[in-house]
């Protein structure tokens, strides 16, 4: 279970995440919002890349930025950057060595991860030769290297072609069946509708809705419903300012 309590991130006076409180306990949860809504900032705070200005994030009761919690999570950043002169296999090994060793045959483990994300054939090629889609897949693979219970994926389907998107969604569904919990950031509504069990709608750092996808849609197409919620919020804010 992931609990956000009064989470706030401010840069000077501008609040990019504003008093965000939420408890998530579903297999696949999607953060939904426009560009700049605060999704990436929240994810960076979850994995300890940014420190909250106020509030806390707990994963099964542990502070999400603590080393104990980090052993249990996998993170894939938006538009991942790599060490270009490393091979895919070397990169996975490097990432894995940053965790306490589990003792199983790790090389086989890296191979199976690369197979899972569909880039096993390029395992010994330098990352600088990878296409954008291959980099995205490698970013996904490294998030799985420690067999995490919780996965935090920032725009994981960006840059993938239709076949790649389908494959990655299938991987996520498999992970769900392995009882792992997945959080993903996306602004692609069709993906959310297809794979998420619940969503959190974020706008200007504020949580506007959290709950089931079907309940949110209430018979309307997701895009229409999303726009209606965002517009209603903006209208209410304008009214309040007056």
């Amino acid at each position: 279970m992931v609990e956000f309590s009064n989470l706030t991130k401010a840069y000077r006076k501008r609040r990019v995440v504003d008093d965000f409180s939420l408890t998530v306990d579903v297999p696949i949860f999607g953060f939904l919002g426009q560009n700049g809504a605060g999704k990436t900032t929240i994810m960076k705070m979850i994995v300890g890349l940014l420190a909250p200005t106020a509030g806390t994030i707990a994963i099964d009761g542990l502070s999400s930025a603590s080393p104990e919690a980090k052993k249990r999570i996998g993170y894939m950043p938006e538009t991942p950057y790599f060490y270009e002169r490393m091979t895919g296999m070397e990169f996975l090994q490097f990432c894995d060595e940053l965790y306490p060793h589990t003792g199983k045959n790790r090389v086989d483990h890296y191979g199976s991860l690369l197979r899972k994300v569909g880039i096993f054939a390029a395992r010994d090629a330098e990352i600088r030769t990878y296409s954008k889609g291959m980099r995205q897949r490698l970013g996904f693979a490294q998030a799985l290297v420690n067999d995490p219970e919780y996965l935090f994926l920032d725009e994981p389907l960006d840059g993938l072609d239709p076949i790649g998107r389908r494959e990655m969604k299938a991987v996520m569904t498999d992970l769900k069946h392995e009882k792992r919990r997945i959080f993903l950031n996306t602004h692609i509504l069709a993906d959310v509708e297809e794979i998420c069990d619940a969503v959190g709608v974020i706008h200007q750092g504020k949580l506007l809705y959290a709950g089931g996808v079907k309940q949110f849609c209430a018979g309307m197409p997701l895009e229409e419903r999303f726009m209606a919620v965002v517009e209603a919020h903006e209208k209410a804010e304008k009214h309040e300012k007056r």
Partner: protein, 254 residues
């Protein structure tokens, strides 16, 4: 500790694949090879060969340290590769120390390669095993470690280009600081101005402490105590600079 070693090993592995570094090393080896020809044509005497060789190694190591120190850490943060690392059970201090020790390993490796080439040249020219030359290279390595720590420190709060400017400035200041107070007094500077000069003298590291090239060239034995003192001096500045770097990096929004 394990994470620091993993990051250090990875840094070494990546940097030795860097074409710029390989280029600098090849150029340095070429320079030492040229010493062999110059020895017969121009340098004539063994001390000149040693001077030419040791100065060359110092120059190329300084370029390598400047290049590594101002780019490696900065690039990882700027290009966000660090996201992969710091989202794992790795602290910022471990990452920074891992980078520093990794870059020190790279410098140690290049110093060792150049030292072997230098010793070979001196032996070929009839100088036998130049132990003092080896000690001079070891002292240069200590200076470069300090230089690296300063470059990483500057990289925690400025861009790569500015880091080059600042680090080059400290390199220059570090070599003139030892005579700064005496020079100031000689030209009649007193009062607050002299206080400022003395402040500079105490704040900036005195890099001349690591220069025993003249002794190595003329095979004047250097007491072990002065080597130990230089090592302690370098360690003091390195610890200070890395502590400040960790303090700044811990607070940096990435």
């Amino acid at each position: 500790m394990k994470n620091i070693l993993t990051i250090a090993r990875n840094t070494l592995k990546l940097e030795v694949r860097d074409r710029i570094l390989i280029g600098i090393l090849i150029f340095a080896l070429g320079y030492l090879a040229i010493t062999l020809f110059l020895a017969d044509l121009v340098l004539k005497e063994l001390p000149m060969v040693k001077s030419f060789g040791l100065t060359g190694i110092y120059f190329f190591n300084a370029i390598t340290a400047l290049f590594l120190g101002t780019t490696s850490f900065f690039k990882d943060v700027d290009r966000k590769v660090v996201y992969f690392i710091l989202s794992k059970p790795v602290s910022r201090a471990q990452f920074l120390l891992g980078k520093f020790f990794g870059l020190c390993l790279v410098l140690l490796l290049t110093s060792a390669i150049l030292a072997v080439a230098y010793l070979g040249v001196v032996a070929y020219e009839g100088g036998g095993f130049n132990a003092m030359g080896l000690l001079a290279i070891a002292m240069q390595f200590l200076e470069m470690a300090l230089f690296l720590a300063f470059a990483i420190f500057v990289s925690t709060f400025s861009s790569s280009l500015l880091s080059i400017v600042y680090t080059s400035a400290i390199f220059f200041l570090g070599h003139v600081v030892s005579s700064l107070v005496a020079d100031a007094q000689a030209v009649g500077i007193t009062g607050f101005k002299l206080f400022l000069v003395k402040a500079l003298y105490y704040i900036f590291p005195n890099l001349e402490k690591f220069d025993i090239r003249s002794m190595a060239i003329y095979s004047v034995p250097e007491p072990f105590a002065s080597f130990a003192l230089a090592a302690a001096y370098a360690a003091f500045y390195v610890i200070l600079l890395l502590s400040l770097s960790v303090w700044i990096f811990d607070r940096k929004e990435i």
